[in-house]
Amino acid sequence: MKNRPVTTESPLVRALLITSAVIILTLFLLMPLFAVFAEAFRRGWEVFLASLHDDAALSAIKLTLIAAAVSVPLNTLFGLSAAWLVTKFRFKGRAFLLSMIDLPFAVSPVIAGLVWVLLFGAQGWFGPWLAEHDIQIIFALPGIILATVFVTFPFVARELIPLMEAQGSDQEEAGVTLGANGWQIFRRITLPNIKWGLLYGVLLCNARAMGEFGAVSVVSGHIRGKTNTLPLHVEVLYNEYQFSAAFACATLLAFLALLTLGLKSLLEQLSGHKAGGH
């Protein structure tokens, strides 16, 4: 009879499982990542840097940053309010609100973009009104922002709601009996308790905001130098057979992904460290 804990597998099974996991990881994650970097530098450093300094590329980077800079704070604010509302209060329509928060996850990104075109496009519901007032939403920055806000809607809320639900309202109620007002309770009791979850949600929200392709692709119109975000720019370059340039831009997105993962691990470590003991 082998002497090992009941919940582990035999050495053979363990080796098999670990090997298959490593193979899958390599095939689907490491190889593509390596390929991106390999292709990006295939024609040398100069070409790589030139691709990134290209006007269109710079404009794409700028647009991506703007889209993130607007949607992340907006959705953080929204996520905080929604989570606070849903976890501290019981009201009619609460279940409905919860399902609505999940809607952007259920919907295909292409549809998420199409919705805005149908609303604000030239033939859309508000099309004539917008044309009258000379407001351009679709094929312009506002449209891109709307699409990005929509698809990154749930991230902060979804991170905070289970966390706050699990923490309960006891501490907040204690704050109430001690005479604190709503803002004092939120700032001094709730916020410190959720800070790691909040940061994590913001991190994921940002990663998605910068990397979104489908929804933004539908509303942007792909106007080079004007309405291309970084992911869209990569596609444009690739379709023009500028492979090295495409991959060069892709490395930026790959760096973003690696940075996100690194920060995520750091946050997990820090929050685990702080939370230890209770």
Binding site: T177, Q184, H278
Partner: protein
């Protein structure tokens, strides 16, 4: 600060938590709300605190004659201690205790030194000197409970409300804290209401016991009163061990295990006694508990002192006579 509770009704959806509950709590008393889960005791406490509000109707809550029914919790001047302490996890003990002071409007807010002195004073009061820099997760259950108490007292409340204060603690810690709370209450004389489902705790601690069941008050009285003169079978059964005997006519009789006399089977008096066999015997402790199977089939729990047990040399399967009826006149 006396508390007057008048005609409180509270419904949660389809569930009736409190039905026409009225209660007078005298100034300075230590009152227990005692009852099983779901009896409404915690709901009542929370309504007194202002954490919940009674249903619309003639209900009123008066503090020393003043109507506070519509006043929110923060402004009622109540100190509330939660069952699981609800300490602020990321603050130190000192910061927890000083919290109520730190959220006062700037006019009434004490300065740093004054607040710090008050915190020290309270830490001494609850016998936790020197623990001011600790965090809640570094404290034992009993210590956390006392921090929660100090925190509630920091704002000089007029009324102290405790929700199952010792529920989450070990038996020994519970006993010690019970004793401590009683002398603490005697020392500061603050009107206090505490909720418990532990009848021993209520009887030991309280000046007045309010027995609740199914959204209503069953009986109010001193511990002696509710134990010796219960007004309903429920109160009788809830407040201690009880034997329930069914007479042939179908009526029930109640008798407490320690009120039953036993004799050797050979000394059985037919007019007052029933014969039976000792089914089970538990004697590890100051009192011996016997489970006796009467010849008529029913079981009886009897408590006798160890002294009597040893004198009679009783053991399992012994025949025994149990005095169940009073001597005929």
């Amino acid at each position: 600060m006396s508390i007057s509770i008048k005609s409180i009704n509270k419904t949660f959806g389809a569930y009736k938590a409190l039905e026409d509950v009225s209660l007078e709590v005298p100034n300075g008393s230590l009152t227990a709300l005692l009852g099983p889960s779901g009896s409404g005791k915690t709901t009542l406490l929370r309504i007194v605190a202002g954490l919940e509000f009674a249903d619309d109707g003639p209900s009123k809550i008066l503090f020393h004659g003043e109507d506070v029914s519509g006043v929110p919790a923060g402004k009622r001047g109540v100190g509330f201690v939660f069952q699981h302490y609800a300490l602020f996890r990321h603050m130190t003990v000192a910061e927890n205790i000083a919290f109520g002071l730190s959220v006062l409007p700037s006019k009434s807010r004490p300065g740093k030194k004054e607040a710090s002195d008050r915190v020290k004073e309270l830490l001494s009061l609850v016998k936790l000197d020197g623990l001011d820099k600790r965090r809640p997760h570094e404290l034992s259950g009993g210590q956390r409970q006392r921090v929660a108490l100090a925190r509630a007292l920091a704002i000089r409340p007029k009324v102290l409300l405790l929700d199952e204060p010792f529920g989450a603690l070990d038996a020994q810690v519970r006993k010690d804290l019970r004793r401590w709370l009683r002398s603490f209450h005697d020392e500061i004389g603050l009107t206090t209401i505490f909720v418990t489902h532990d009848q021993e705790e209520a009887l030991e601690l309280a000046d007045e016991v309010v027995v609740m069941r199914n959204a209503r008050i069953e009986q109010i009285g001193s511990p002696q009163e509710v134990y010796d003169k219960p007004r309903s079978p429920f109160v009788y059964e809830f407040l201690g061990n009880v034997n329930k005997l069914t007479a042939p006519e179908g009526t029930h009789e109640y008798i407490r295990p320690h009120e039953i006399e036993i004799r050797f089977a050979a000394e059985c008096e037919p007019l007052t006694d029933e014969l039976g066999t000792i089914h089970h015997l538990f004697s590890a402790g100051p009192i011996a508990n016997l489970s006796i199977r009467l010849d008529n089939g029913s079981f009886l729990d009897v408590e006798i002192s160890r002294k009597i047990l040893d004198e009679m040399c009783l053991d399992r399967h012994d025949r025994i006579a149990v005095k169940l009826r009073p001597e005929p006149a």
